[in-house]
Subunit: 365 residues, 2 copies
């Protein structure tokens, strides 16, 4: 994959919105930042994890805050550059490569922008293969790479370094700092080695993300139904990837609730021409579970995306509207995300569900 | 002054409760910590600011959190020692002396304990001559010594370093971190030079604090009315210090409100035998203003203390009770605290009052 022009950047951002599964922060500000780098001729270099030395020094950067604040607040390249400088100074070594902690939403597109800006390779991998709302919900953390030190900066020159006993505490401290500074800050975190990336990351997600965005655009131009192209790309049982078109209809009820700093939501949809055929999607920042006429058809960490029925454009949770014509697509999570130790952290129980995780391909044979 | 036994420690803590003007955190846990050091033969050394070299390296330590959490949560000497070690490491130099940021309440007694533990001199001075509820409300900040870097630690090994653009932001960030860690953490902050201490601190407040505590105890033992001794100590117009016994009565109404993380309160008292003679004290964490039959008799930053009418024991805001027999004493703030640039920060306007500051000696000639 190569990201060399505006269309490539838009494809990447569209893929990130898909993998954002309703949340993850609008990729748009990251898209603008990456586009600026690309238009200057600074193209991000994406490498495979196995190109890394085992002792390579790897770092993540990500935004921490509130998505509605984010979109009112353009990303500053200068800030991200200073964040990297100060983090290298604090760590006492130079960084060899970047990795996105979160492929879905803003963070992957932004990390590509930082990689281009710093002329550092970006590893074709991330820590969750989707979006999650807390910094400890990554495979890195499950397998013992600490988030700390977490360096946090805002655009006014305020800075904090968090060194916590565990990653859940790092999340609470970082979230509190973010709130105190207006709910949008940038962070550098999860310093890792090349070996750790090879062993613990979710691989090939940057290229998957770009392919999804590109496929949606091309299918829209070339096919009668863009979903045919998307399903052909994503449903590859021989590669262990399963994708299902779960529903085709319109939104008939939307309930949003902001509680304990989470965005809870319930989206109810009716099939076209059949009001008795109903799908309900439950969200907590991201889409977590889908029930078709009461039967569970997808469960976290498997992915759910709600797309415009016509254009297959992914729609984030806060942009859903009553009456909207949509299609719901489910996608299997990467195999590493379904291991017992990972499901213990970000499986159904991690979001308060009592039910066990069942793979989308078993729920929808 | 020398602090060499349990009685000396109790005297110091009693003075700190007086100068805490109703807030500042209960000195009790600091008292226990200081007492432990003293019983081990580690006595705090209190020195005058003019004994410092101009380039001496000075630091403050203080608790940041919620007083009700504090009293359920003993102070750990190990934690304070590690905090000092890590702060010296971060600053890249050794500390020559400590200064209390806040003489009133917990922080002065605790800083004496840390000074004894580390065998560092404690300067006979502080940053406010009383208690205030935010870390930027100190003369150091008014005169341009930044609070940052602020190092924050809790007992579980979580740590943060805050480097803010201004001290009000340092306060917001530190407060947020404290809340995220359970509302009781310890901090090292306001690195200063000896010259800055000489120029910007409120001087001789440690010895004043100790004298007040000692005077209350001795007057209680030796005089019919302990307030006679207290007034004789504190009302010294020739030294620019003015003290008034403002009221003698009982509490007839108490209103407490926790709003925006502040403790607001209104305390109404009636004179003994005369229900038409009323004093109202307004508090916002600390006692801020006293109105006698509608006429203002003391205004922040001048000090107000509510004491047990019999024993002259200072009573903090959360321990006031309906029907309690009390006396109200007002004390002039140190001259530096009444300068225009200081009043602009922690004068009446700093707490939302529209009225101008008037000195207690003018309000009560």
């Amino acid at each position: 994959m190569e990201i060399r022009n505006k269309q490539d950047v838009r494809d990447m951002a569209r893929g990130a919105a898909f993998l954002g599964v309703g949340g993850g922060g609008d990729p748009y500000v990251g898209q603008l930042m990456l586009q600026q780098e690309v238009l200057k001729g600074r193209y991000p270099r994406v490498i495979k994890a196995d190109e890394l030395d085992d002792d390579a020094r790897v770092l993540s950067v990500c935004g921490i805050g509130s998505p509605p604040v984010l979109v009112e607040h353009l990303l500053s390249s200068r800030l991200l550059s200073e964040l990297m400088d100060r983090m290298e100074e604090h760590l006492g070594y130079s960084i060899d490569a970047l990795i996105s902690a979160e492929i879905g939403g803003l963070n992957s597109v932004m990390t590509l922008g930082v990689a281009a800006q710093r002329d550092l390779p970006l590893i074709d991998a991330d820590g969750m293969g989707r979006a999650f709302p807390k910094l400890e919900l990554v495979t890195f953390s499950v397998y013992g790479c600490p988030a700390s030190p977490v360096m946090i900066m805002d655009e006014l020159g305020n800075m904090a370094i968090v060194q916590s006993r565990d990653d859940a505490t790092a999340e609470m401290m970082s979230r509190a700092i973010s709130s105190s500074l207006g709910a949008m800050v940038y962070s550098a975190l999860y310093p890792m080695t090349g070996r750790q990336v090879k062993d613990f990351a979710v691989h090939d997600t940057i290229s998957l993300c770009y392919s999804i965005g590109k496929c949606i655009r091309e299918s829209r131009e070339e096919l009668d139904n863009p979903f045919d192209g998307l399903l052909a790309l994503l449903n590859r049982p021989e590669e262990g990837r399963h994708c299902r078109l779960l529903f085709d209809g319109k939104i008939v009820d939307l309930v949003h609730e902001i509680r304990d700093a989470w965005h809870f939501g319930t989206i109810t949809m009716e099939a076209n021409g059949n009001p008795d055929d109903v799908m309900v999607v439950e969200m907590q920042n991201e889409y977590l579970a889908a029930r078709h006429n009461g039967k569970t058809v997808t469960m976290v960490p498997d992915l759910l995306c709600i797309l415009d029925a016509e254009t297959a454009e992914p729609i984030t949770g806060e942009r859903l509207k009553y009456g909207q014509r949509i299609k719901v697509v489910g996608l299997s999570a990467a195999p590493i995300m379904r291991r017992p130790e990972c499901l213990a952290v970000f499986g159904p129980g991690g979001f308060g569900y009592k039910e066990e995780f069942k793979p989308i391909e078993e729920l929808n044979p």
